[in-house]
């Protein structure tokens, strides 16, 4: 693979990112006319992007388990997550999901997603603290003002929803809840299908795909490599997408969360 060829691939992929050609492909049938490479690239790009999102969310959770989170690293990861979600919103990937999850903004579901995003210490204490408030909690110990902000977060069942919408700072607050739900639901899907016992298992599963993720997302790919990005190599994610990601069975959800937080 020559460097020029790689560069052209980059330009192609980056053009797709910018123009949102993926939207067309995602509808499926209409794109039979497209080139073989293009057809294979686009859905696998979505899967790769989803994997990156999942990995980032796991990293954010892991950084809460550390002694004191490195704020710069956490902010950069969170910005990456926000970027992915914004792109997924723009290209309509969220639409299917949002229609199903709209109206199901029960507190219980929010509680489950919160569990993923706080440290095991806080879980033990049973506090409701969304991701960034955990930033604040970890970093601010001494100012009473901040403490009172956090206290209000903990006591008010309404507040987590608002904080989540603030967290991602997007135009449409309705979408935000759906977005966050969806990505974490996909993590749960992955867990359920592969039954890992620990967070490390999740991480190591995610590991294998990243060699390809490298090549896709940073744009230096050859056609042969793209062959590896067939849907077949991502069986669980494929089924996840086709199952429409709507987890309404809270018992299952709790069970999965238990597995996740056990480590």
């Amino acid at each position: 693979m020559g460097e020029e060829e790689g560069l052209h691939q980059t330009q192609l992929l980056d053009t797709m990112f910018v123009r949102g050609l993926k939207r067309k492909c995602f509808d499926g049938e209409e794109d039979i006319e497209g080139t073989l490479a293009g057809f294979k690239a686009i859905p696998s790009y979505n899967l790769q992007r989803q994997s990156l999102l999942d990995m980032s969310l796991v990293k954010l959770q892991l950084c809460h388990m550390l002694v004191e989170p490195n704020l710069c690293r956490s902010v950069l990861i969170a910005n990456t997550v926000r970027q992915i979600q914004e792109e997924m919103t723009q290209d309509g990937t969220w639409q299917m999901i949002n229609t199903q999850s709209a109206g199901q903004t029960s507190l219980d579901r929010l509680v489950s997603t919160d569990i993923l995003c706080r440290s095991s210490k806080e879980q033990a204490e049973g506090k409701l603290v969304p991701v960034y408030s955990t930033f604040a909690k970890d970093c601010e110990g001494t100012q009473s003002q901040d403490n009172s902000e956090i206290m209000s977060t903990v006591t008010s069942p309404q507040v987590p929803r608002n904080l989540q919408s603030n967290m991602w700072e997007m135009e449409n607050p309705q979408e935000n809840r759906g977005n966050f739900q969806k990505s974490l639901d996909q993590i749960f899907e992955t867990l359920e299908n592969k039954s890992p016992n620990t967070v490390e298992d999740l991480f190591s599963e995610v590991d294998n795909s990243y060699y390809d993720l490298d090549t896709v997302l940073t744009g230096m790919m050859s056609n042969t490599k793209m062959g590896h990005c067939d849907l077949e190599t991502f069986p669980s994610q494929t089924s996840a997408n086709s199952n429409s990601n709507c987890k309404s069975d809270l018992n299952e959800l709790d069970h999965i969360v238990e597995i996740l937080v056990e480590s």
Binding site: G6, V75, E140, D214, T215, T218, G219
Partner: protein, 445 residues
């Protein structure tokens, strides 16, 4: 008098071999800094220890031992602490050391961990008083009734002892982790910067500091940018710069207002749309910012490049150097293993003509700004022997690998050179490779 340095000399050759020193320490070195004359070299490590090396006086008898660095003083600067309020440990790792210019016989330096800055005095003692009246030479108290005459104690020579004493402790001013300290050119004040705030201190006052930059949002959920490094201008005591995780540099003037939230200058390069990826922001995050000795330029280090900016031009750097562009296609793996968050430092040589920064596999890079030549060198035991020749290294990015080249996939990402230092006037560099310190000296006669 500006010293003209050519990269050819630094590469080493049969005519101009290097003298290299290699010292192994028990802990990972976390900062390296020469003092203003280059006579002393300080290192800080993960265990909170500071080791100071002193350059040997050159002697005519032993010309080949030209100015080697020997251990001068070792002391424990910071201890691990526990923050009971947050149930968190405060690491004792020394993040930065900065020297004060020498004003008397003693040496002064600032060392900092995540939360506390300390001013240390390092002084020599080569005399001690003898002939006390009330105690004998062993220090035991004498029976007053046995004293029949008075004498005046006299100073007698003793073996040289170097002692380090903490003179000031500047604590409890940072909620977030301190990443930078910088001594002002007025030699009366200094600044300490953490992720969200920068404080100005007077050396004499430890219970107060002025907050001069605060980028903490009212709502922490809105946080998207942090401060990554800060430095005072080398000559203008009212001017400083700070860099951010979004790849921007702000220059501030303390005369404009007490709180320098509004910058005087804002340096940012427009993004290259052809290189855009999900990792663009992370790799644009600036890990180090340094003024040139002249004060005319600033140098910044982000994950893949080093950039030189002219203070008079805010919209783009005047020079960009690729440190290890072959990593651009590996960003996702480097994100996964957290290497993408590594914070590399960068340094100028004394005449601002050459810049140096570290990379992986114990490689470090030098860029000659005048000739536009660059070189990759390796810090290893083999090339740190007394008359070693530092051979340039090359990373092979694809296709056929030549004999001496190393392929990108063989690079050892656990061997990273984050901290380097350059002697203020001579071609002597200090390179920290995990728990090894390498000192290379150019032997131009």
């Amino acid at each position: 008098e500006a010293l003209v340095i050519s990269t050819a000399h630094l590469e080493g050759s049969e005519k101009h071999p290097y003298s290299g020193q290699h010292l192994s320490t028990s802990d990972i070195i976390s900062t390296v800094e020469f003092n203003h004359t280059g006579e002393l070299l300080a290192t800080g490590d993960k265990g909170g220890r500071v080791v100071i090396f002193q350059r040997e006086q050159e002697s005519k008898n032993q010309p080949h031992r030209r100015g080697e660095y020997n251990v001068y003083s070792t002391f424990q600067s910071h201890e691990p602490e526990f923050d009971y309020l947050k149930s968190l440990e405060i690491e004792e790792k020394i993040n930065k050391i900065r020297w004060l210019p020498q004003q008397n016989a003693a040496y002064f330096l600032l060392s900092t961990n995540d939360k506390t800055v300390k001013l240390w005095k390092v002084s020599e003692r080569d005399k001690r008083p003898e002939g006390y009246n009330l105690k004998d030479e062993d220090g035991r108290l004498r029976d007053p009734s046995m004293i029949t005459m008075l004498r005046v104690p006299v100073l007698r020579p003793m073996d040289l002892m170097v002692e380090a004493t903490p003179r000031r402790v500047f604590a409890n001013a940072h909620t977030y982790h301190i990443n930078s300290i910088s001594v002002n050119s007025d030699y009366e004040t200094y600044m300490s910067a953490d992720d969200l705030r920068i404080n100005l201190w007077n050396f004499e006052i430890t219970n107060q500091s002025f907050n001069i930059v605060d980028i903490k949002p009212a709502n922490m959920e809105e946080l998207t940018e942090v401060i990554t490094a800060a430095e005072f201008h080398p000559h203008h005591c009212n001017t400083f710069v700070y860099s951010s995780s979004k790849g921007t540099i702000r220059l501030c003037d303390m005369r404009a207002s007490a709180l320098c939230d509004r910058h005087s200058k804002f340096f940012e390069e427009p993004e290259d749309p052809s290189n855009r990826s999900f990792f663009s922001e992370i790799i644009s995050s600036i890990s180090d910012v340094k003024f040139s000795h002249s004060g005319r330029y600033i140098m910044t280090r982000d994950y893949l490049t080093v950039k030189v900016w002219d203070l008079n031009m805010e919209n783009r750097p005047i020079e960009t150097y690729q440190v290890h562009d072959y990593l651009r296609s590996k960003l996702c793996s480097l994100y996964e293993n957290d290497c993408i968050f590594d914070k590399f430092e960068c340094v100028w040589n004394g005449s601002d003509s050459v810049i140096m920064t570290g990379s992986y596999n114990n490689f470090f890079r030098m860029f000659d700004r005048n000739t536009k030549r660059d070189v990759t060198l390796e810090a290893s035991r083999e090339n740190s022997k007394p008359r070693a020749i530092l051979k340039p290294r090359k990373v092979c990015v694809g296709g056929k690998r030549r004999k001496d080249e190393i392929s990108v996939d063989s690079l050892d990402f656990s061997k990273k050179i984050l901290h380097t230092a350059w002697h203020p006037s001579e071609n002597i560099i200090a390179v920290a490779a995990t728990n090894n310190l390498y000192i290379f000296q150019d032997k131009v006669n």
